[in-house]
Subunit: 244 residues, 2 copies
C-alpha cells in the first residue's frame, strides 16, 4: 500500500545507518530504497544493522545524482531540521502522511520521494531546490539532529499509521491530470531559464537566486503534465518570436 | 514538560543501542533513563552513538531489578511487539501519548515508566506482570521487530507531539510576504494576456479558454506581492525585447 513511496538517502557516510534505514523501512512496509553516492555500499555494517531486512538492501538502487533518483517522482519531499532563511512550503511528518497516503481503493498513481541528507549537514540548498516540500520532524529545538535511521523510522511510522486510516480527506487535492514528474519539471526549468536569458531578464550564470524564487512558485503549485505543456508552449512562442 | 516520563531499558545487550536511545530521548525532550542490568555500561559505543546526548547517559541510573526501576511510578507501560495469548490492556504509541501526556498547565504528578525489553526477546511475562499496559507500535506484521533505539524514537516522538511543544506547520505556508490582492492578480492577468498576444501565442479575442487555464495555475499557487512583481518583471522584459 505504500508502494508508491521511495526513500532516497543522499551521500550517507556511515553504512550502518543505511542498514538501520532498511530495517526501519521494512518494519513499516516500505520497500524502495535509493542511494545517491553513498560513501560505502554494499557493506557488512549495513547488512548487520539491517537484521533481516537485507532484501531491501539488495534491491536498493545507487544513483550518481539526486536528479536521477527522483526523475520518476511527481512529489519530492526533503527532510530538513534546519530553520532556513528562505522559507519553503513545509509539512510535518504527520501532515505528509495525511496528505500523501491514500486509501488502498484510491491508490495514487503519483510516485513520492522522501529525501534524507547527509548525517552531519543534511541537504544542500541546491538539493532542496529539487523538492516540493520541506519535511520536518517535530523535535527538541535545542537538540534537533535525529540519527538518520531514527528520522526515517519516524517518517515511515507515520506513513504506516496513515495507511491504516482510510478516513482522511485530502484537502485541495485536484488530481484530474497526472502531476508532472521531477524530470518534466527540470526540463521546464531549463527551458524557462534559457528563455529568460534570451529575453535579457537574467544572465544564465547569475540566475541562481531568481531561479530559486521561480522554482518555489512552480513547485508549490504542483503542475500537472498538461499545464507544463502549456507553459512550455508559451516559452517556445517567446523564443520563436525573438528569433524573427 | 515530559519530565514525569522515564524510559527503562531491561538487559540491553548492545551498548550502542543505549547511546541511540539517549539520543532519541534528548531529541524529544525526555531526560530520565533507567537501565536494568545492562550487559555493558558505561561504554565508548554508547557515548559515540549518543552523539551529544551524553548528559542523558551520565545521569542514567542503573538498577538490579525492574521492580526497583519503576518503584516510584504510578503508571507502567511495557513495550511489546508480540501478540500474547494472555490478553492485556493494550495501547498504541499514539494512544499512550494522548492518554498520558497532559498540557503544561495541568501537569500530571503521576510518574510514568515506559519499559523496553531485550533486543532479541523483549520483556518476559513476569516483567509484563509489573506493567499496567502493553504498549504496541503499529508495524509490519511480517517483520515486527524494531531496533531498540528506533522503538524508543517512535514512542518518544509521539510523546513530544502530544506535548504540543511545537506548533503545527501549515501545509503550503510559505512566508510573511503579503498575498497578492485580487486587484493585483487582475492586473497581472491583463499584463500576461497582452504579452501572450504580443508574442503570437494567443489572439486577445480568442483567448478565453487558455487564459482560464492559466488563471487556474496562478490562482492555485497563491502568489505573494513580490512574486507577482517578479512575474510582471519577466513580462516587461519580454515586451521590451520584442519592441527592439
Amino acid at each position: 500500500m505504500l508502494s508508491n513511496f521511495k526513500i532516497v538517502l543522499v551521500e550517507t557516510s556511515h553504512p550502518g545507518n543505511i542498514g538501520g534505514v532498511a530495517r526501519a523501512m521494512k518494519n513499516m512496509t516500505l520497500s524502495e530504497l535509493c542511494l545517491v553516492t553513498p560513501k560505502t555500499f554494499p557493506s557488512a555494517d549495513a547488512t548487520s544493522r539491517a537484521a533481516g531486512s537485507d532484501d531491501i538492501l539488495s534491491s536498493a538502487t545507487v544513483y550518481e545524482t539526486l536528479q536521477e533518483a527522483i526523475a520518476d517522482c511527481q512529489v519530492v519531499l526533503g527532510a530538513s531540521a534546519r530553520d532556513r532563511t528562505i522559507s519553503w512550503p513545509e509539512v510535518t511528518a504527520r501532515e505528509c502522511a495525511e496528505k500523501f497516503v491514500k486509501p488502498a481503493e484510491n491508490q495514487s498513481r503519483d510516485k513520492i520521494a522522501i529525501v534524507f541528507g547527509r548525517e552531519n549537514s543534511g541537504l544542500k540548498n541546491h538539493e532542496l531546490d529539487l523538492c516540493h516540500y520541506l519535511l520536518r520532524i517535530p523535535c527538541n529545538s535545542d537538540y534537533s539532529s535525529l540519527n538518520l535511521a531514527a528520522a526515517v523510522q519516524v517518517v515511515a511510522y507515520e506513513l504506516f499509521v496513515a495507511s491504516g486510516q482510510q478516513t482522511k480527506s485530502t484537502i485541495g487535492d485536484k488530481n484530474e491530470d497526472n502531476l508532472a514528474s521531477a524530470k518534466q519539471m527540470e526540463l521546464f526549468y531549463e527551458h524557462l531559464q534559457q528563455t529568460l536569458a534570451d529575453i535579457g531578464f537574467l544572465h544564465v550564470d547569475k540566475s541562481q537566486s531568481i531561479m530559486r524564487r521561480l522554482r518555489r512558485i512552480y513547485n508549490r503549485v504542483a503542475l500537472d503534465t498538461k499545464e507544463v505543456d502549456i507553459l512550455r508552449g508559451i516559452l517556445r512562442f517567446s523564443q520563436t518570436h525573438n528569433d524573427k
